[in-house]
């Protein structure tokens, strides 16, 4: 009976299972939601590309049975930008962790959003560099513990929805791995939305972040998300900072439209060059 087969299996390289993620890690949940979004939107899997950086979240690319690219630390977005620009028909997704995307990748993040590169970006934010054992990241809540902040993080963290919003992303949402239906729905929404679409997913890292901060295991984290999340669609992104022990504002905060990089390029070049411009496909059907 085909219904006995877990729905993710046709989408994954099952010859590489079991995956490397820890018990209670939220990344597998993100995979489940993405698969269901692909199913629901009937996405053409030949045209879906997954690009990732380095880290636990970055391993997503290796498990998906699509054209996938496991690039260098922090540099998945410029790779994805090049991939999409060379081949605008592709549906390019980027899965990266908070350290990869926002620390070393921070500059690329703000520019990709600024230029509205037509990319779907999912940041799995577990407030840590999990793969390397739990170092501090730019999203780690103030006073949280990490191996490289053993007395407590003392830098104010980035508020990712605000960062994405102020950099120009056309879609900004935050969910936790507790909010599987909403997360799936957001992924469906951005599947065909042109432009830089960003979803932050708060997820447990039971082995590093949860353990070092005595916050319990993955289940404890999920209970926390359930009890302390507040859905505020359209919230002002300036107001959705996350503090240790505090509420987590989730929801769809930004959903707007503006020309993608290739559309803006085409418009500008057409104006300037007229007949000399050889139109370049944008991959967008509006």
């Amino acid at each position: 009976m085909s219904e006995r087969i877990n729905p993710v299996e046709p989408f994954l390289r099952m010859d590489r299972m079991p995956h490397i993620w820890c018990p209670g890690c939220g990344i597998g949940t993100v995979v489940n939601c993405f698969v269901r979004a692909l199913l629901k939107t009937r996405a053409d899997l030949n045209k879906v590309s997954v690009v990732s950086g380095i880290g636990c979240t970055g391993r997503i690319a290796g498990y998906f049975r699509v054209d996938s690219f496991h690039t260098t630390h922090g540099r998945s977005l410029p790779f994805a930008t090049g991939l999409k620009m060379a081949n605008p028909e592709l549906n390019v997704w980027d899965f990266s962790g908070d350290g990869d995307l926002i620390a070393i990748g921070g500059n690329h993040f703000i520019h990709a959003a600024r230029r509205n590169a037509d990319l779907k970006v999912v940041c799995v934010n577990n407030f840590t560099y999990g793969m390397t054992g739990g170092q501090v990241t730019p999203t780690a809540p103030l006073h949280s513990l990490a191996t490289t902040a053993p007395y407590g993080a003392f830098e104010k963290p980035f508020n990712l929805p605000f960062l994405a919003d102020s950099s120009g992303a056309v879609y900004v949402a935050r969910w936790t791995t507790y909010h599987v239906r909403q997360l799936t729905r957001s992924m469906e929404e951005i599947m065909t939305k042109p432009g830089f679409c960003f979803i932050e997913v708060i997820a447990p890292c039971p082995t590093a972040y949860q353990r070092r901060n005595r916050l319990g295991d993955g289940l404890e984290a999920m209970r926390y998300y359930k009890a302390n999340s507040k859905v505020v669609h359209g919230a002002d992104t300036r107001s959705v900072d996350i503090d240790l022990g505090g509420p987590i504002v989730v929801g769809k905060f930004v959903d707007r439209d503006r020309p993608t990089t290739l559309e803006a390029m085409r418009d500008e070049l057409q104006k300037a060059l007229g007949g000399k411009y050889v139109p370049y496909p944008t991959g967008v059907n509006r």
Partner: protein, 386 residues
């Protein structure tokens, strides 16, 4: 295969090396480039930004050289022939991604219009001090191909070769210009498109299937065909050590198998990658070894030497990496000495010394910022022959 005429600016032009390089890229079929400004390379991307949209291509200035050096690789996997350009500090930033391209076998061209370093150095002035970096600059064991043009004409011709070599060997090709050649304006003849040979990417012969393996080579070949994205091959590319399927495999056996092949595809390429020029070496007592702009300076030194009755020849590597070992070893057996003239304090001379196997090898150094005076090199020759 012949070049696409839409990218070929056929005619007789008066161009500097940077501009000629851009035209070479277009003639080779480059339709996608990402770059960042840095003296003395900026003109390459400026011209690319102007020209690409008129030939159906796309250029984007990225936020930094790191982004440029990996955006081109995304674009290469997206199906395009690609190039990025930089100098000194920017090339250093790009080094991680040179290694990525080597590891993932991504065809791409990195143009380095060399200037004096280290660090910010002399941004507007010539040097040739990045030669070892071109080969060893990224971490780990890998091989690249590096070419050294010595004229704007060659900046056109050899750029086409660079793209072809990138496609044949699936490596990053380091196009080692220098500021003198880049900013020198000379006659550049661009032939008709049907006079220009370009190499297209080799696609897999087999259709997509469950048994398709991204890095499986045909028997006797060390270079696997490269699949197109978006057509169902469903491949995985990773910078991690991987097997034939492209899947990460974390052990010494997989490492040995993969890295040896990456290195051997260049080291064992043989005559296919030997490109050099020789002048009057047959009877030479001393052979001057030089590349790039210095290979033109030593022509004068050789002329002056011959006028004085000294038997001097010139050996000019055009492909510097892999270094033309076989020929250098042959010459070592017949000459009294090599004088290596380079705009650095001793880089390619180390290769010559290694291969000379005891034949006297002397460096004519220059820290950069200008060119050797031909007489200074001649003085080194006279010193050697004393």
């Amino acid at each position: 295969m012949k070049a696409d005429p839409r990218g070929v600016l056929t005619g007789v032009h008066f161009l500097d090396g940077d501009h000629a390089c851009c035209e070479g890229a277009l003639a080779a079929g480059c339709r996608c480039a990402f770059g960042y400004p840095i003296t003395p390379s900026t003109e390459v991307v400026e011209r690319i930004a102007q020209r690409l949209p008129t030939v159906g291509g796309v250029f984007l200035q990225m936020e930094d050289e790191i982004a440029s050096s990996i955006a081109i690789q995304g674009a290469a996997w997206g199906g395009k022939k690609v190039l990025s350009v930089s100098s000194g500090p920017g090339i250093s930033l790009m080094m991680e991604h040179v290694g990525l391209a080597a590891m993932t076998e991504t065809p791409c061209v990195f143009v380095n219009v060399q200037r004096a370093g280290p660090s910010t150095g002399l941004p507007t002035l010539v040097a040739q001090a990045d030669m070892m970096q071109a080969r060893w600059g990224s971490h780990g064991d890998y091989e690249v191909i590096a070419l050294c043009p010595n004229s704007p004409q060659e900046c056109f011709d050899l750029t086409v070769q660079a793209f072809n070599l990138a496609e044949i060997y699936r490596v990053p090709v380091m196009f080692m210009m220098d500021e003198a050649v880049g900013h020198m304006t000379e006659r550049v003849v661009i032939p008709a498109a049907d006079q220009i040979e370009v190499v297209e990417r080799r696609r897999p012969a087999e259709p997509p299937s469950d048994t398709y393996a991204l890095y499986r080579c045909e028997p006797g070949s060390r270079v696997p065909p490269m699949p197109p994205v978006g057509e169902g091959y469903r491949f995985h590319v990773t910078g991690l050590t991987h097997d034939e399927r492209g899947y990460p495999v974390m052990n010494a056996e997989a490492q040995d198998r993969l890295v040896r092949r990456l290195v051997d595809k260049i080291r064992l390429a043989g005559p296919a990658l030997e490109r050099y020029e020789e002048y009057q070496v047959d009877d030479a007592d001393v052979v001057l070894v030089a590349y790039g702009i210095t290979s033109r300076v030593v022509q004068r030194s050789m002329q002056l030497a011959r006028e004085r009755g000294l038997k001097v020849g010139v050996f000019r590597p055009v492909v510097v990496w892999p270094f033309p070992e076989r020929r250098l070893r042959e010459l070592a057996r017949q000459v009294k000495a090599f004088v290596v003239a380079e705009l650095n304090l001793g880089q390619v001379v180390l290769e010559v010394e290694r291969l000379a196997c005891g034949t006297r090898t002397v460096l004519a150094p220059h820290a950069g910022g200008g060119l050797h005076a031909p007489e200074a090199i001649l003085a080194q020759v006279e010193e050697v022959l004393r």
